[in-house]
């Protein structure tokens, strides 16, 4: 049995320590907001926060997450009101939506580390999150909006 803390809640899982964290999150904990994209750390759809780092859960084994805090899209905020989530809704960013839990998790780390990112900062931070619908211009716009919302919420 392996104990994982996901979104602040402890889960005791009957799982192999080598199991990808993504499988544990989706199939064992039942949190399906995080998506399987490529399975080889290339697309970013499976991004979750592991002690604040935006890891790709398809290649992160659950043994690495033991004793750490795992945050998925479901746990990013209490009421889907993280500034990035608010901005995503306001700009209506997604098309098919499949990659966007990963996009949002990546953007949340960017805004934590750099509250007022430039376009160049956004390009660097989001380069590992692929959107095959090509919503990149809206993603960039929404991140600028999220930065403004975050700054307002801090005042």
């Amino acid at each position: 049995m392996i104990k994982l803390t996901i979104n602040g809640k402890e889960h005791t899982l009957d799982a192999d320590p080598e199991m990808p964290l993504l499988w544990a999150i989706r199939d064992l904990a039942g949190l399906t907001g995080t998506k399987f994209g490529c399975g080889v750390a290339q697309c970013g759809a499976c991004m979750v926060h592991l002690d604040g780092d935006a890891v790709r859960s398809c290649v992160t084994k659950i043994k690495r997450a033991v004793g750490k805090q795992v945050i998925t899209i479901e746990g990013l905020s209490d009421n889907n009101n993280h500034p990035v989530q608010q901005a995503w809704a306001e700009i209506d960013v997604p098309q098919c939506g499949y990659c966007h839990s990963g996009q949002i998790m990546a953007a949340a780390v960017l805004l934590r580390d750099n509250p007022n990112p430039t376009d160049a900062d956004i390009d660097i931070a989001m380069a590992g999150n692929i959107c095959r619908c090509g919503t990149y211009p809206r993603i960039r716009k929404a991140i600028h909006t999220a930065a403004e919302l975050q700054q307002k919420s801090l005042k």
Partner: protein, 207 residues
């Protein structure tokens, strides 16, 4: 009068002998005085052997497994042809990446099984921004000079450089991901040449 003079002379001679013996004794006690013998040339230093050893070291350092994480730019390299890393991850101040693009977000503490999967080590990173330790594009002369310069090698003296051959991330070069080639020498051969290069004087090949 003559008798007194002789006595004084004898006394001076005795005092002088005593002084000489005291000085001699003190030399004996502390070992030979450096000025007493000719320095034997340091046979350990040998520029020809040192440079020859470095050529082997250089073949390893310029192999993709080493050079790919010592790029001239701020993006690591990938593969046998040392192309720019997909997704263009950036070095960042500490060499560990930036934002959602940290090295260890994909590179796990161990190799991930499968072709083209991220190779791993718990401390996967590039050299930091203030000490880039570039290998890419360096001649053997330039690289040798850079490696022994504490201002460019992370403040390492020769002893620390010798120890660096066993650094965990350095050794990861010999545990590549699936489908990737190892450096041209074994780690043991590399370490032997590395130490020989340093101990024989850490000479740089001619420019």
């Amino acid at each position: 009068m003559k008798n007194t003079h002789t006595k004084i002379t004898s006394g001076v001679i005795v005092m002088a002998l005593l002084l000489v013996s005291l000085v001699a004794f003190s030399f004996k006690k502390d070992g030979a005085n450096v000025s007493d013998y000719m320095a034997v040339p340091d046979k350990k230093k040998d520029s020809i052997a040192s440079v020859k050893a470095f050529q082997k070291v250089y073949s390893v350092l310029m192999s993709p497994r080493c050079m790919n994480c010592h790029p001239k730019g701020d993006v690591p390299l990938q593969g046998e042809d040392s192309h720019l890393h997909q997704m263009m991850p950036q070095r960042g101040k500490d060499g560990k990446g930036l934002y959602a693009m940290k090295c260890t977000n994909c590179h796990q503490p161990e190799n991930t099984p499968g072709l083209h999967m991220p190779p791993g080590h718990k401390d996967w990173h590039l050299p930091p921004a203030d000490m880039k330790m570039v290998f890419e594009g360096k001649t053997a002369h330039e690289l040798a000079k850079q490696l022994v310069d504490p201002k460019q090698n992370g403040g390492k003296d020769l002893k620390k450089l010798v120890e660096h051959a066993d650094d965990g991330l350095v050794k990861t070069g010999w545990n590549p991901g699936e489908g990737l080639k190892k450096p041209p020498l074994t780690h043991a051969e590399f370490k032997k040449s590395w130490i020989e290069w340093i101990e024989k004087g850490a000479y740089a090949p001619a420019p």
